[in-house]
């Protein structure tokens, strides 16, 4: 009967048109914005496998002395110059792994999962799976407090997080004394790290702001991009120490800080200023570029491993 009424009444056609038109016209942009605005798509969905992009040089670990892009204290510089990377071939040090900052400074991707309270279904934590030489990270989302300052410090540290402005904001404390770079630049157990995880489409950008009152003159800020991986990442192989040339009980390989044989390697390879290679603060700002403009001599043309598939740094000759 209702159908008969609709078909038989022109006024009702007008009613239907008005209803449809009203619905269309009353659509407002999300959040009270303007036409063309949109809601941030998928920004809360970070539980996935994320492969590294590799289009930015954030590792800076291809030669033994490379502190480019850091603002470190004199004490940190001295300690870093005393570091010999062959320490990591000692049996007892092979599986020490790297600290929390290695999430963005390392070469691997991120496999992120979420854990929920079975009763409330609220997210309790996000977990970034460990790699062979990285301890992984748990980001607690349930408002639990950070432990006492006297609590155990670990490679992973203790991290809490919350959603803020469309990004996952996290804060790490209780890190064990370790390194901010694989070239031996130290990070103290007083360091803290703030993180932001921004998802835009299929790209996840992880922003790390590391502060250290002992070894960093300014925060180390790294933003590293990852792309959504169709294939799940799997880095579950545990570290297994093996003989790499050092017997247990051997002395720890090191250099006297003023006798590091690699101190000029990057300087000579790319004609870079020494203060930049050694991590002086002023080298991070545009004024420094103007300062060295007249003294910088470009290196000779690249002839080997010049592209994306090659080594990221030209190695020494035989």
């Amino acid at each position: 009967m209702f159908i008969n009424v609709v078909v038989g009444r022109p006024a009702l056609g007008l009613l239907m048109a008005a209803l449809v038109g009203g619905v269309v016209f009353t659509q407002e942009p999300a959040g009270g914005g303007q036409a063309g605005d949109s809601a941030l798509p998928n920004q809360f969905e970070i539980a996935a496998s994320w492969a590294p992009l590799g289009t930015e040089d954030v590792q800076n670990d291809s030669v033994p002395v490379d502190y480019l892009g850091l603002a470190i204290t004199d004490e940190a510089r001295t300690r870093a110059l005393s570091y010999d990377e062959s320490q990591k071939s000692m049996m007892e040090r092979q599986c020490q792994g790297w600290g929390a900052a290695y999430a963005v400074l390392g070469p691997f991707g991120l496999k992120i999962s979420t854990q929920s309270d079975p009763a409330t279904r609220r997210v309790v934590s996000y977990t970034i799976d460990p790699w062979e030489d990285w301890a992984g990270m748990v980001i607690w989302m349930d408002d639990r407090p950070h432990p006492s300052e006297h609590a155990l410090h670990t490679q992973a540290g203790f991290t809490t997080g919350r959603w803020e402005g469309g990004a996952l904001a996290a804060h790490t404390t209780h890190v064990k004394a370790g390194f901010i770079r694989k070239t031996g630049v130290p990070l103290s157990d007083q360091a803290t790290i703030d993180w932001r995880f921004f998802r835009h489409g299929n790209v996840l950008t992880v922003l790390m702001v590391a502060r250290d009152p002992v070894y960093l003159e300014e925060p180390e800020i790294i933003s590293k991009g990852f792309r959504l991986s169709a294939a799940p990442l799997d880095y579950r192989d545990p570290c297994a120490p093996g003989f790499e040339g050092h017997e247990p009980g051997d002395s720890v390989p090191h250099f006297a800080p003023d006798q590091n044989p690699f101190v000029n390697e990057l300087v000579e390879l790319y004609h870079l200023p020494r203060e930049a290679v050694l991590g002086y603060r002023e080298t991070l700002y545009p004024e420094y570029r103007k300062k060295i403009k007249d003294s910088y001599v470009p290196p000779p043309p690249c002839t080997a491993d010049c592209g994306v598939a090659g080594n990221f740094v030209r190695r020494r000759g035989p």
Binding site: R9, E56, D57, A167, I222, G225
Partner: protein, 251 residues
């Protein structure tokens, strides 16, 4: 039945008129202008910002060696251009701004001055190369020039965080650019390239602010895949360190 149907129709029409956007009603009634991109901005990008070069230092703070294009997915078509880069020839041809185009300008160390040129156009001035980018929001007429420019045509829109949270991101898509360089040493992008950016802000522990510009360059001619970087900037209190410099082919 007919009487009630007519009444219902009238009611819906009243609701329909009342439900139309305030902007439409305002225009008919001579009321306030529609909400602008400036008025509805979920984040404040305005101010002076300085590059904080902690990544890609060797590719940004100094001019890399001729022929080096590490970490850029250059296509085979790009290789002859990379290998024959001649900055002097660029200067002679009046093309010394090739590394200051929209495809690479945000990675050039320098300062940004971000202002609202009008209610729906965000303006970014750079002191390095003395460039100006105009980010036009919905409703703005496209740039009038039919000739590609270094900064191209940029369409912007806000991406908002759903309530009750607050905040958001600025998405900008730029096309119609002159062919330029992704790096100072002549790694090219073509005039068919597009640049997609997200501008995000994060607080710094010392109370300052950080601007993060996640940038994706797609180019069917000179790139095998997207080139993605995320340069970041610290906010400065004022423009006292603002120092415009001209484009340079070599530095």
């Amino acid at each position: 039945m007919r009487r009630s149907l007519v009444a219902l129709t009238a009611l819906v029409l009243v609701l329909f008129a009342a439900g139309r956007p305030a902007s439409v009603r305002a225009q008919r009634q001579g009321g306030p202008a529609p909400a602008s991109a400036r008025d509805t901005a979920p984040i404040d990008l305005t101010g002076y910002w300085v590059s904080y070069v902690t990544e890609n230092w060797r590719y940004r703070m100094v001019t890399p060696a001729k022929g080096e294009y590490r970490r850029i997915p250059a296509s085979p078509a790009a290789l002859p251009i990379i290998k024959t880069w001649d900055p002097a020839a660029d200067t002679r041809a009046g093309e010394q701004c090739k590394s200051y185009g929209a495809g690479g300008i945000m990675s050039v160390p320098g300062r940004l001055h971000i202002t609202w040129q009008d209610a729906n156009t965000l303006r970014i001035d750079t002191d390095a190369g003395t460039q100006t980018r105009l980010l036009r929001f919905a409703g703005q007429a496209p740039a009038s020039s039919t000739v590609p420019t270094w900064q191209g045509d940029s369409r912007a829109h806000w991406e908002r965080v759903p309530a009750p949270d607050r905040g958001g991101s600025l998405n900008v898509v730029t096309s119609h650019m002159r062919s330029g360089y992704l790096r100072k040493n002549g790694v090219p992008y073509s005039d068919r390239a597009t640049v997609s950016e997200h501008f995000d802000i994060a607080p710094l522990p010392d109370g300052g602010q950080l601007l993060l510009v996640m940038t994706t360059v797609d180019d069917p001619v000179y790139l095998n895949g997207p080139y993605i970087v995320s340069p970041h900037f610290k906010k400065e209190r004022d423009g006292s360190k603002w120092e415009p410099t001209p484009c340079s082919s070599t530095w």
